[in-house]
Protein backbone atom coordinates (compact mmCIF):
# COMPACT_ATOMS: atom_id res chain seq x y z
CA UNK A 1 0.00 0.00 0.00
CA UNK A 2 1.29 3.39 -1.00
CA UNK A 3 1.02 6.56 0.99
CA UNK A 4 0.00 9.80 -0.59
CA UNK A 5 -0.71 13.17 0.98
CA UNK A 6 -0.10 12.04 4.52
CA UNK A 7 -2.75 9.64 5.59
CA UNK A 8 -4.13 8.11 2.44
CA UNK A 9 -3.33 4.57 1.56
CA UNK A 10 -4.71 3.52 -1.80
CA UNK A 11 -3.91 -0.05 -2.82
CA UNK A 12 -3.35 -2.47 -5.66
CA UNK A 13 -6.02 -1.07 -7.94
CA UNK A 14 -5.30 0.99 -11.01
CA UNK A 15 -3.98 4.39 -9.99
CA UNK A 16 -6.93 6.10 -11.65
CA UNK A 17 -9.20 4.41 -9.14
CA UNK A 18 -6.94 4.40 -6.09
CA UNK A 19 -6.55 8.14 -6.34
CA UNK A 20 -10.24 8.49 -5.66
CA UNK A 21 -9.71 7.15 -2.18
CA UNK A 22 -8.37 10.58 -1.37
CA UNK A 23 -11.22 12.64 0.09
CA UNK A 24 -11.81 15.45 -2.38
CA UNK A 25 -10.67 13.64 -5.50
CA UNK A 26 -13.24 11.99 -7.70
CA UNK A 27 -13.24 10.61 -11.22
CA UNK A 28 -12.71 13.94 -12.97
CA UNK A 29 -9.89 15.22 -10.81
CA UNK A 30 -8.25 11.84 -10.72
CA UNK A 31 -8.08 11.66 -14.48
CA UNK A 32 -6.94 15.23 -15.02
CA UNK A 33 -4.25 14.98 -12.34
CA UNK A 34 -2.84 11.86 -13.95
CA UNK A 35 -2.90 13.47 -17.33
CA UNK A 36 -0.90 16.44 -16.11
CA UNK A 37 1.55 14.22 -14.24
CA UNK A 38 1.84 12.16 -17.43
CA UNK A 39 1.18 8.86 -15.76
CA UNK A 40 -0.72 6.04 -17.40
CA UNK A 41 -4.00 5.76 -15.48
CA UNK A 42 -4.04 2.01 -16.13
CA UNK A 43 -0.91 1.32 -14.10
CA UNK A 44 -1.41 -0.41 -10.78
CA UNK A 45 -0.59 1.74 -7.80
CA UNK A 46 2.00 -0.74 -6.59
CA UNK A 47 3.90 -0.46 -9.87
CA UNK A 48 4.40 3.28 -9.49
CA UNK A 49 7.77 4.60 -8.42
CA UNK A 50 8.29 7.07 -5.60
CA UNK A 51 8.87 9.80 -8.18
CA UNK A 52 5.55 9.05 -9.83
CA UNK A 53 3.78 9.40 -6.53
CA UNK A 54 5.49 12.65 -5.69
CA UNK A 55 4.71 13.91 -9.17
CA UNK A 56 1.04 13.21 -8.52
CA UNK A 57 1.25 14.89 -5.14
CA UNK A 58 2.87 17.97 -6.61
CA UNK A 59 0.14 18.35 -9.20
CA UNK A 60 -2.50 18.16 -6.49
CA UNK A 61 -0.72 20.71 -4.33
CA UNK A 62 -0.04 22.97 -7.28
CA UNK A 63 -3.68 23.10 -8.22
CA UNK A 64 -4.55 24.01 -4.66
CA UNK A 65 -7.17 21.31 -4.41
CA UNK A 66 -8.76 21.21 -0.99
CA UNK A 67 -8.25 17.64 0.06
CA UNK A 68 -8.73 15.45 3.15
CA UNK A 69 -8.61 17.38 6.45
CA UNK A 70 -8.71 20.81 4.86
CA UNK A 71 -11.75 19.93 2.82
CA UNK A 72 -13.53 18.35 5.74
CA UNK A 73 -12.82 21.44 7.80
CA UNK A 74 -14.14 23.60 4.99
CA UNK A 75 -17.39 21.65 4.90
CA UNK A 76 -17.96 21.79 8.65
CA UNK A 77 -17.12 25.49 8.62
CA UNK A 78 -19.86 26.01 6.03
CA UNK A 79 -22.35 24.12 8.14
CA UNK A 80 -21.31 26.05 11.23
CA UNK A 81 -21.81 29.30 9.42
CA UNK A 82 -25.32 28.37 8.35
CA UNK A 83 -26.17 27.28 11.86
CA UNK A 84 -24.65 30.26 13.62
CA UNK A 85 -26.70 32.71 11.59
CA UNK A 86 -29.78 30.64 12.35
CA UNK A 87 -30.77 30.28 8.73
CA UNK A 88 -33.35 27.80 7.60
CA UNK A 89 -30.72 25.65 5.97
CA UNK A 90 -28.66 25.57 9.16
CA UNK A 91 -31.69 24.50 11.10
CA UNK A 92 -32.41 21.63 8.72
CA UNK A 93 -28.85 20.45 9.05
CA UNK A 94 -29.12 20.50 12.82
CA UNK A 95 -32.30 18.50 12.75
CA UNK A 96 -30.93 16.05 10.21
CA UNK A 97 -33.73 16.70 7.75
CA UNK A 98 -33.47 17.39 4.00
CA UNK A 99 -32.21 20.90 3.35
CA UNK A 100 -33.46 21.65 -0.14
CA UNK A 101 -37.17 21.54 0.26
CA UNK A 102 -37.79 17.85 -0.38
CA UNK A 103 -40.86 16.19 1.05
CA UNK A 104 -40.57 14.51 4.40
CA UNK A 105 -43.98 12.92 4.78
CA UNK A 106 -42.48 9.95 2.99
CA UNK A 107 -38.95 9.21 1.80
CA UNK A 108 -36.02 11.41 2.90
CA UNK A 109 -34.56 8.23 4.37
CA UNK A 110 -31.00 9.22 3.57
CA UNK A 111 -31.21 12.22 5.85
CA UNK A 112 -33.51 10.80 8.45
CA UNK A 113 -31.76 7.46 8.82
CA UNK A 114 -33.49 4.19 9.43
CA UNK A 115 -37.19 4.02 10.09
CA UNK A 116 -38.27 4.62 13.63
CA UNK A 117 -41.75 3.39 14.24
CA UNK A 118 -43.79 5.62 16.44
CA UNK A 119 -46.62 3.69 17.95
CA UNK A 120 -49.61 5.19 19.65
CA UNK A 121 -49.73 4.34 23.31
CA UNK A 122 -53.36 3.96 24.26
CA UNK A 123 -54.72 4.21 27.75
CA UNK A 124 -56.11 0.84 28.84
Amino acid sequence: MARLLGVDIPNRKKIEYSLRYVYGIGPTRSRSVLEEAQIDPNLRTQDLSEQDLSKIMNVILERKYLVEGDLRRDVTANLKRLQSIRSYRGLRHQRGLPVRGQRTITNARTRKGGRKTVGVVRNK
Binding site: R81, S84, I85, R86, S87, Y88, R89, L91, V118, V120, V121, N123
Partner: protein, 89 residues
Protein backbone atom coordinates in the same frame (compact mmCIF):
# COMPACT_ATOMS: atom_id res chain seq x y z
CA UNK B 1 -31.07 26.67 -10.53
CA UNK B 2 -29.34 29.72 -9.16
CA UNK B 3 -30.01 33.19 -10.37
CA UNK B 4 -28.09 34.60 -13.30
CA UNK B 5 -25.26 36.86 -12.12
CA UNK B 6 -26.01 39.16 -15.00
CA UNK B 7 -29.21 40.23 -13.33
CA UNK B 8 -27.58 41.06 -10.02
CA UNK B 9 -29.13 40.79 -6.61
CA UNK B 10 -32.82 41.20 -6.17
CA UNK B 11 -33.92 43.58 -3.45
CA UNK B 12 -37.42 44.95 -3.23
CA UNK B 13 -37.22 48.60 -4.22
CA UNK B 14 -39.27 49.89 -1.34
CA UNK B 15 -37.16 47.95 1.10
CA UNK B 16 -33.94 49.17 -0.44
CA UNK B 17 -35.10 52.73 0.01
CA UNK B 18 -35.95 52.19 3.64
CA UNK B 19 -32.66 50.47 4.31
CA UNK B 20 -30.72 53.32 2.80
CA UNK B 21 -32.61 55.84 4.86
CA UNK B 22 -32.07 53.86 8.05
CA UNK B 23 -28.36 53.53 7.44
CA UNK B 24 -28.02 57.28 6.98
CA UNK B 25 -30.13 58.25 9.96
CA UNK B 26 -28.68 55.81 12.49
CA UNK B 27 -32.20 54.72 13.21
CA UNK B 28 -32.12 51.13 14.45
CA UNK B 29 -35.82 50.62 14.86
CA UNK B 30 -36.82 47.35 13.17
CA UNK B 31 -37.94 47.84 9.59
CA UNK B 32 -41.12 45.93 8.95
CA UNK B 33 -41.10 44.03 5.71
CA UNK B 34 -43.02 41.35 3.91
CA UNK B 35 -40.34 40.96 1.32
CA UNK B 36 -38.87 37.61 2.27
CA UNK B 37 -37.54 37.23 -1.25
CA UNK B 38 -35.10 40.12 -0.97
CA UNK B 39 -31.43 39.29 -0.86
CA UNK B 40 -29.42 40.69 2.01
CA UNK B 41 -26.79 43.03 0.61
CA UNK B 42 -23.88 44.53 2.54
CA UNK B 43 -25.99 47.66 3.10
CA UNK B 44 -28.21 45.70 5.44
CA UNK B 45 -25.51 44.82 7.96
CA UNK B 46 -26.24 46.14 11.42
CA UNK B 47 -29.91 46.75 10.86
CA UNK B 48 -32.87 45.16 12.55
CA UNK B 49 -35.53 43.90 10.19
CA UNK B 50 -38.91 42.60 11.14
CA UNK B 51 -39.55 39.90 8.58
CA UNK B 52 -43.05 38.59 8.11
CA UNK B 53 -43.48 34.85 8.39
CA UNK B 54 -47.08 34.76 7.29
CA UNK B 55 -48.37 35.52 10.74
CA UNK B 56 -45.96 37.56 12.79
CA UNK B 57 -42.90 39.70 12.22
CA UNK B 58 -39.74 38.08 13.47
CA UNK B 59 -36.94 40.47 14.21
CA UNK B 60 -33.70 39.62 12.48
CA UNK B 61 -30.48 41.37 13.36
CA UNK B 62 -28.40 41.31 10.19
CA UNK B 63 -24.76 40.35 10.54
CA UNK B 64 -22.03 40.17 7.94
CA UNK B 65 -22.36 36.42 7.62
CA UNK B 66 -25.90 36.74 6.36
CA UNK B 67 -25.00 38.68 3.23
CA UNK B 68 -26.11 36.81 0.15
CA UNK B 69 -28.93 34.98 1.85
CA UNK B 70 -32.58 35.86 1.49
CA UNK B 71 -34.51 37.49 4.31
CA UNK B 72 -36.99 34.63 4.37
CA UNK B 73 -34.31 32.20 5.44
CA UNK B 74 -34.25 33.82 8.85
CA UNK B 75 -37.94 34.02 9.52
CA UNK B 76 -39.24 30.52 10.04
CA UNK B 77 -42.71 29.83 8.79
CA UNK B 78 -43.51 26.54 10.47
CA UNK B 79 -43.96 25.63 14.07
CA UNK B 80 -42.80 22.18 14.93
CA UNK B 81 -44.96 20.39 17.44
CA UNK B 82 -43.06 17.40 18.68
CA UNK B 83 -44.10 13.82 18.06
CA UNK B 84 -44.12 12.46 21.52
CA UNK B 85 -47.37 10.99 22.73
CA UNK B 86 -45.56 8.84 25.31
CA UNK B 87 -44.49 11.55 27.65
CA UNK B 88 -47.87 13.20 27.72
CA UNK B 89 -49.74 10.16 28.96
Amino acid sequence: MSRSIKKGYFVELSLERKVRRAQQSDDRKPIKTWSRRSTITPDFVGLNLAVHNGKNFLTVYVTENMVGHKLGEFSHTRTFRSHNPHTQK
